[in-house]
Symmetry: D2
């Protein structure tokens, strides 16, 4: 119901990926190809890392394609790791606190998908969040609850385990409450050094997610006169996206169903994602 992108590589102006590609995230906000909804106009957010301990965050409930501030910020802020998200709301209000990514200390979290029949599950999920984290939940989305539940289950020390137990908890709760196929999700998560991406759904029919080829590989795919255009990203650059940012055969590899990815300085490690009952 949303579209997102995550980037790790050399510091570049964020506009390079958010605006300046054929099917950029801004273009996707107006006309997504493979999303359930065509229009993703219910808020925008970008979180970025620089030399600070805590990432910067800019979230707005305006349509991304009309936000004059966003253009300037993306052109002027350079970052080596950033997450950006355009929202198509499901059932929760359009407000800044419901825009992705969500931030907790040095962590950022964003989600495309849904917790189905949330009205049946919400209260239990909220009560399962560690009381010390409860006050940090500022909005009313399923996504933010998923984030704080993953933190409750140890995301900071064990990202795979934190996410797998969060999913396991929701699957178990849904089974107990008679909700089938409760989870549909692609997740983008970062701590400033590592970038994580997860593709999963209860029904094993998850929303699209793509991993870019290496800059070296993309360089070879490009016509000779355009090869220089990718050099600024650096040898280690990787993007994870809901939809390819441009058409180039071989540049975007679909992430398989039920997969957990960790990206660190250009190294991509992939493992099967299996929920864990907490």
């Amino acid at each position: 119901m949303c579209r997102w992108l995550a980037y790790s590589g050399n510091a570049v102006p964020m506009s390079r990926l958010i605006y300046e590609t054929d099917h950029s995230l801004i273009d996707q906000s107006l006309s997504a190809h493979s999303s359930v909804q065509t229009t993703n106009g219910d808020g925008f957010g970008v979180g970025w890392y620089d030399h600070s301990d805590v990432p910067g965050l800019y979230r707005n409930l305006r349509t991304a394609w009309t936000d004059a501030n966003l253009i300037d910020l993306c052109e002027h802020i350079e970052s080596h790791m950033f997450l950006a998200h355009v929202r198509a709301a499901t059932a929760t209000p359009i407000q800044q606190t419901n825009c992705h990514p969500f931030r907790y200390r040095n962590w950022l979290f964003m989600h495309n998908g849904v917790v189905r029949e949330l009205e049946i599950l919400r209260r239990d999920i909220a009560m399962a969040i560690d009381p010390s984290l409860y006050n940090s939940v500022l909005g009313s989305t399923d996504s933010e609850l998923m984030f704080y539940l993953a933190l409750t289950f140890g995301l900071v020390d064990d990202p795979y385990g934190g996410v797998a137990k969060m999913v396991g908890y929701i699957e178990d709760l849904a089974a107990a409450k008679g909700v089938s196929h409760p989870l549909q999700m692609t997740l983008g998560i970062a701590d400033g050094k590592n970038l994580y991406a997860v593709r999963y759904s209860s029904e094993r029919d998850s929303r699209t997610l793509f991993l870019s080829a290496s800059v070296a590989a993309i360089r070879e795919l490009l016509p000779e006169e355009h090869r220089d255009t990718v050099d600024a990203y650096g040898a280690n650059a990787i993007s994870v996206v809901s939809e390819p940012l441009y058409n180039l055969e071989g540049a975007w590899n679909p992430v398989p169903e039920s997969t957990f990815i960790c990206i660190r300085q250009g190294e991509v490690s992939t493992r099967d994602f299996v929920p864990i009952s907490p």
Copy 2:
């Protein structure tokens, strides 16, 4: 580039036409059928008449489909004549003063279309506006300039003449400046007693505009069990719309190219629209 509707009839909650039809204006804001742009998410406005001298006006730069206030206002405000508009901006900023309808005393004005190459024509148009009206121009759209130019040319006393001279002025100016096909427009205009609609474009290929059949005629077209649903609108009710609000063979008649319509208490008078050089 926009979609609009205008209503004249018995006082009804505005939500009846704005929300509660199959292809309501709110639905059109997310997925217009015959518009140049699918999404009309760059602002919304509604102006309505009641017992006051001056119509009420509610304009917002949020997407119409996410505006919780708008739902309540449309359900709670009843009006016998109202104009509503969803905007897809061309080149001017998304701001309240650029949302339609525009208001001058008891007059409301809204526009779907464009003044082409406005950057070449804008200054002359602004200068042609009567100095006593100049300060009333609050935004930066072509549409608002058209309204004040029509007022300059006598809209209040002679609606046909005011609009025809406005169009004539812009056609003449465009010809002098080398701009071809300067105008594309459907206009909805009201003074509280009369509702006017105009379909015109320089190239004689105007955006769609439809006039509803009479309530009596629509009643006959409906299955017997649904006939009561239209009684609340009253025998004199008429709507003018950019796109039909629902599918019903015979209920929506296309307004012919180059037409000026005046609706007064259910009486529809139609004449050919021909620009007048002022």
Copy 3:
């Protein structure tokens, strides 16, 4: 931390009380006299009753004094019972779902004050809300939690009991958690027929609250040439306000500390307010 007004009487344009008095609510939003904060610029809301079952609601996070829509709505909407509120946020985000009044079916609720050390109490309060009401909490304020807690404790059938048990619950919880003087509140509550107001604080030093004299009494206080100005409100009209809307000796009576007021068709019944441990 906020200012509010509530009105019950003949149907009048809401602008009469919200805009058109010397120290109107809009004036108070810019420069409150007796509020903890001078500026109440963190959102506005008005809820009004008409012939519908459910009251209308308009809430906005803009400063009230710059909201052009608000002026029009208040001038054009007439209501026999309405509640209006300007917010000065304490620690929760400025968003529409945090603006007062809050609505549940035919009920409206607004609050000036604070639940102190909310971060210690919030989770328990949320858990105490009836699960069937839990999903109706849309924002993150202390005030909305108070409303749903009062509903949980029977507000609909027994307004005094619902509020007294809500207060009792929070006082008991605070005592158990070591939070002293947890509650500071003036409440405005309505169901469309009855208007309720409560003045209470744990420390018995509550924010100001005033009840208007009867229209007949105010008529006598006015200079002879101005007496007609109040006739439109009707013999049964009553206002409850955080601050007097204008200066007129005898027109505004302070509501005593720890008081519960019920107003029904001009009849004012007053009783001492004592929390009840639920």
Copy 4:
């Protein structure tokens, strides 16, 4: 009617001056000391220079003190020259295009003050703007008209002359139209290398403006344990402000009436400001 600050020096996070002083610009937005209005809550803007040719711009119509995005941007964006402005609107709408600073290519312009009886003067001023610049005027403030008039009169090549002729034009026009004391202004202008400030009013009773002492001088004024806090700004750092950002005897020098200041790499050159009839 507004408050502003301008900074030139070493690159520092903008939050240092905008947030982290006793009487920061954010504090002034809620409670200005020497402003005509206490509350400057009708929009905020900041423009900053970095390595790009064109400065970045962030403008918002929310109250500055509640804008969560603004905090993050100011903490994460470092700049060697920036201008920031909180607005208290006079008579023009609250919209992004009316927020300062205004930008033209590499130039930024902001204004505290007013063109009096603008409704009498606006059309002539607009028509005096060079037709090639006319379409760049996006909002409806007196301030933006002043900027484009100064550009028309050569601001880019001769900043003193451009401003002096702009003022001269308005003074002459006002005299011809019978408007007395038309201008009240303090201006902050920058091109990325030079920072300009002007204090002037027709009645020779201009709004306050202060120039910071040198960092070396301020260092000496500080208690020994606090001297390191100013080192990050660099030896050449200078601020120009509507109100002192903190209390420190000797740190803020009032700019004399009718003065034009140019700051370049810490060098301050000052001359009397005298309008020039264009």
